[in-house]
Structures are given as C-alpha cells and as structure tokens.
C-alpha cells in the first residue's frame, strides 16, 4: 500500500459517492452535482498520477486537470440550464417526471 494507492482509493470512493448521488437522488440538480463529483474524482486521479510520475516537471497531468475543470464548468452551466428548461416545461425537476424519451 503506497501513498498512490491511498490517493486512488480516495478518488474511487469519491467517485462512488458521486455515483450514488446520481443514482439515488431524484432532484435533477443533485444528480448533476453527483456527476460533477465523479468528474472531480477523475481529476484527483490525474493529479495523483502526475505527482508520482517519473518526470512531473512536464506538468501534463496538471494541464489535463485544468482543461477538465474548464469543460466541467461548461457542462455544469449547460446542465443547469437544461434543468431550468425542464422545470419550465414540467414545473418539476424530478427526473422521474422527465420521461418523454420513453420508447
């Protein structure tokens, strides 16, 4: 068990918590937040691997994390906008109600 293992387990647990939130909450906002947490867990992995990589001065992992954060921000904005749009249509942010994709 090295420090890297610890970091990875931290990340895995955070990921699972996020997944749990996404799976077990019905509020669209919280589902979205769960997804954000999963993305954050992935970022933790990037940083951890970068920190313990043979030549960290490249900074590649950190760069990737930065871009990932930027994309996540965009995703959050669009996601929340979608939720507001759904709310406009259905007066509810319960994802169970948004089932018009039903086949």
């Amino acid at each position: 068990m090295t420090i890297l293992h610890l970091c990875l387990i931290f990340s895995a647990l955070l990921f699972s918590l996020g997944l749990a939130a996404a799976l077990a909450r019905s509020s669209g906002i919280l589902v979205l937040l769960g997804i954000e947490l999963m993305l954050n867990a992935a970022n933790i992995n990037f940083i951890a691997f970068w920190k313990f990589s043979p030549n960290p001065e490249n900074g590649t992992g950190a760069m990737f994390a930065i871009f990932s954060i930027a994309v996540a921000a965009a995703e959050a904005a669009v996601g929340l906008a979608l939720i507001i749009a759904i709310y406009r249509h259905q007066s509810s942010i319960r994802l169970q109600d948004a089932n018009t994709l039903k086949g």
Partner: protein, 666 residues
Amino acid sequence: MPSSIDILWFIPALPLLAAFIGAISTQRMRSVASGSALSAMAVSFGLSCIALKDALAAPGVHQVNNFSWVSVGTFNLQLGFLLDPLTAFMLVMVTFVGFLIFLFSTGYMKGDENYAKFFCYLSLFAAAMLGILVSNSLLLTFICWEVVGLASYLLIGFWFFKPEAAAAAKKAFITTRIGDLGFLIGLIWLHSISGTQLFYNNGEGFLETINLVEATAPALFAISAIGILLFCGAIGKSGQFPLHVWLPDAMEGPTPVSALIHAATMVAAGVFLMARVFPLLEFGSALTVVAYIGAITALLGAVIAVAQNDIKRILAFSTVSQLGYMMLAIGVGVWEAAIFHLLTHAFFKALLFLGAGSVIHAAHHEQDIRALGGLAPRMKITFATFSIGMMALAGVPFLFSGFWSKEAILHGAHTWSVSHIPFYIGLVAVVLTAFYMTRLMANVFFGKPRSHAVEHAHENNWVMTLPLTLLAICAILLGFLGTPAFPWLQAKLLGKDLSGALEFGKIFEGPGLMITSIVLVALGLGIGWAIYGFRKRERFGDADPLEKRFPGLWSALEHRLYFDELYAATILKTNSLLASFSDWLDRWIVDGAVQLVSKLGTLLGFINRDIDEQCLNAGFNETAEEIRGIGNTYSKAQSGDVHGYLRVMAWGFVAIVILVSIALNI
C-alpha cells in the same frame, strides 16, 4: 474709422441677427420681427453704399480679409471676405431690392399667422445671399449657397399645409442639390490641385495663380472639368436647362418670395458665381458649354412662357429665359455685360413680380390671366409701373434699362469668335420675349374683368405701391449706367479707367445690330398686339387664338414641353428602382445569406431525413417490419427513466470488471 473691408462682414451678419430675432419671436412680437428685418436691411444697404464708394475709388483692386477656418495637420481651409466693384454693385442691388421687397411684404403678408417666421426666413435668405457676395472663398460661397437653398426651401414651402407647396419645396431643394453636388466636387477638385480655394489672396488666390498654370493637356482638362462642375451648381441655382424644372414650381411660395428669390437675387447667384470665377472658366474650354446652355435656356424659357396662363409662371419662365441670356453673355466672354443685365433684370423683374403680387393681392389671389382683365383703369399705379417693367423686359429702345443691357449681351454674342448660333438664338428670344409680355399685358390690364373678384379690385396702399414706384424709376435710370456711349459700369467692373468723356458716337457703332434688335422688338410687340390686343378675350373659358391655330404645339408648350413628365419617367424612375433594388438586396440577399447559414443546419437535418425515408425505407421495408417487431420488444427497456439508464451502466461496469478479472485470472 475702419476701412470697409473690415466691416464688410456686418453686411451679412446684420440680417442673420434679424433672422435669429425672427426665429425666437412669437406671433405677438410680429412687429419686432419685421422691424428688425427691415432695419437690418436698411443698415446693410447703408454699409453697402459705403463699400461701393470705397470699391469704386480703387477699381481693379481686390481687397481681402482672410482667416483660417479649419486647420489640422498639414491640412488647412481658409475663408475670407472680398471687396471689389463686382461685389459692391451686387451688394447695393441686393440690399436695395431686398429692402423694398421686405417693405412690400409687410403689407402683402399682413394677415398671415406665421408672419414672424416669414421675416425670419427672408432675413436668413438675405444674410446668406449677401454672404455669397462678400465671400472670398469658394467654400464660403458654397456654404452660403446651400443656406440660400435652405431659405428658398423654407420660403417655397411657407404654406406647408398645401401639398403642392410642400412638394414644390422638396423638388426645388433636391433639383438644386443635384447641381450643388457638381459644385461640391468641383470645389474639392480645385482645392486638391491648387491647395487653396480663396479667390484672391495677395497673389496666391486661385484666380490669381490660374494664369501661371502651364497650359498642358491634363491641366486644361482638369480646369475645364472644374469649370463645368462649378457651372453645374449655377445650372441648378439659376434654373438653367436641364435643371430649370424647379423654378416655375417654386411660384407656389408667397409672391414677395418669388420676387426676391426667384427673380432678383438667388437665381442670379449662379450668374454671379460664374462672373466671379471667370478667369478660371476662361482658362479651359468650359465657356463654350456655358454659352450653349445659356442659349438653349434663353430660347426654351421664352418659348414655354408663350403658352402659360398663370401670371407668376409666365414671369418665372421669363426669368429662366433672361438667366439664359446672362449665361450666354458669360459664355461668350462678356461677363461685365452679364452683370449689367443681372442688375437691370433684378430691378425690372422684381418690379414685375411685385406688380403681379399687387394684382394678385387686389384680385383676391386670382393668378390666372384668363380670369383677370381690365385692371388698367382700376389700378393705375400698378398698371403704370408694370408697363415700365414690361417694356424694360421686352427691351423697348433707349429709355428702358433692359434695352441697354440686352444690347450689350447681343453685341458680345455677335463678336464671339467661336460661333454665331448663340447670337441668332438670342435674337429669336428677343422676339418671343416682346410677344409673350404683350400677351400678358393685354390679358391682365385690358379688356374687361372676367371674374367677380377682379371687378372689385382697387389699388393697394402705399406700402405696396411705394416699392413699385421706386423700382420703376430704377428700371428706367439704371440703363444709363452702361450705355455704349458711357460704359461706366462695365469699366468699373473690369477695373479699367474710363476716358471720362461721353462718346455718343459709340451708340451707333455697328448700327446694323442695334437696328436689327429694335426691329425685332417692334415685331414681337406688333404680333402680340395683333393677336391679343385687337380682339380681346371675352370670357374665362375662351381658347387662346394660337391654341386654335396650333393645338398640338400649344398643348406641348402648355405642359412645358413635358420636361417634368420626362424626368419622372427617367430619372425619378431610375432612382426609385435603385431604392427598391437596394431594399430588396438588403432584405433578401444579404439578410437572406445570413438566414441561409442559420438554416443550413436545419437543411442538413432535412436531407438526412429524406435519405432515411427514400433509401432505407424503400429498400429495407420488409426487413424493417421484422426488426420493428423485435424493436418493440426491446423498446420496453426504454423506460425514459434516467436513473434506470445510469444504473444499468453501473451494473454493466461492475459486470465487465468482474468478467475481465475472471478471464485474466487475476
């Protein structure tokens, strides 16, 4: 005591101040407005007389007073004032005629609800007109030129609630602006090649340096082109062919306006400008163009005037014709004769218009000569003065000013080396002028009244008759300033010294010419009286004797040779098409392109759908049926429940990890 050049700017500034007072005067302060306008003109007249005295003391000297207007980087624009005999004579004429017309207006416009505004506009006009005269800079001339146009616009449209007046005002402004654009380009071109647009600047003005220019082909071309472009401005303002169409319509304005602006002063501005830049015109070949345009206009105006029935329109076309004469004079090189004619014309035409105004006012705004008649005994002063004006215009020999000035022009045209065509055209116009003026007199003052209002017409009060009398006196006396025997005016204008003695012999130099023109005038008067004098019109509806004889020609003339219709069908139509095209282009093509891009995405979607429908459905319809059956079964899994989907993914992930680790035996 300051010299006149230093106080010259007061002459336009005073009326400008009066215009400002008029603008802020309410209807209750009407007398303030008219009083300030009148007194400004009176003072300006006094100053002009002083200026004239100074200028005559040193003819041939151009006193200037220049100052910088815009200066930025290496770019510099100067304006300035100029005093020489040409300016001074014009100043005295404009202020004097202007004052009389202002005086006349106080009577004529008495009952109008916008009385104060009327004097505001009149003063504005006078200020701008005087500005043109004292300007020593083509740019300042242009500025005042446009302001004159504005004042004319405002005054033509003075009765703006009449749709015809509003339309006439717009027509006048836009028609003259077409010419003014030529003027503007000419001015800019001149400034860009010579670096200055001052007339005189102690040897550096462009009129002074023009003689130093080497006569190479490009220089000749450029200077001729500039001359013609400047002439475009004059064409517009002075109602020359082909932009003369606005002038007759401008008679929708009040009669004093027609007298002041559209007979005596503004329309003469074009002639004045041409005289001012004469050295420039002389250098290139622009003069020939000026001569022919002038000749055509002189004939055209006279011909059309024959068949008009509105008293003011007859006078308007006569103005067009006389302005053509002046341009002709400039074109053939005798600009001093043009100015002489300009001065005499200003007086007798103002007299005629005010006389017409007096008639109209007395006849309760009846303007149709067919409805007038028999006014001679009822309005004796008007009749007498109007007759003097008419004879001056027709060129009745010896006593009347018009004779001498017209004679000077014909003499100049006769000696023109290029061609005699303008001269012959001038002679024809002499006959026609005498003819249509006789027709006018016979119809208006003789015979019997042909409408109710006319029967009760009576002479107007002194405010209106005094200007008539003064103008009539001038219309006679002014001619003696420039007789061939003692061409004092011409000599002063040209800056020459006069030998001092009267030379009566010169009157009869080239007697053939003078006798010819006397005969022609007599011919015109005779024919006119023969047709209209002996058998007078009985009723309003009677056809004109000439109309019976030449109905086709008459109708064409009555419609002013269809110029308006022609322009409507060509220029206005083109313009309107261009506008429609621009609008269409903007609405559909440019904006359409933008919309197209945004529709492109949608379009791709449609294409995709079509491909789906056409290819897939047609080809695999049967297979699809089968698949659809299977799909129906599976589509039950599509619950629309987002959580469900996510959960399945999680389970799938777990399953894959377990399967892989079992397979790899980890």
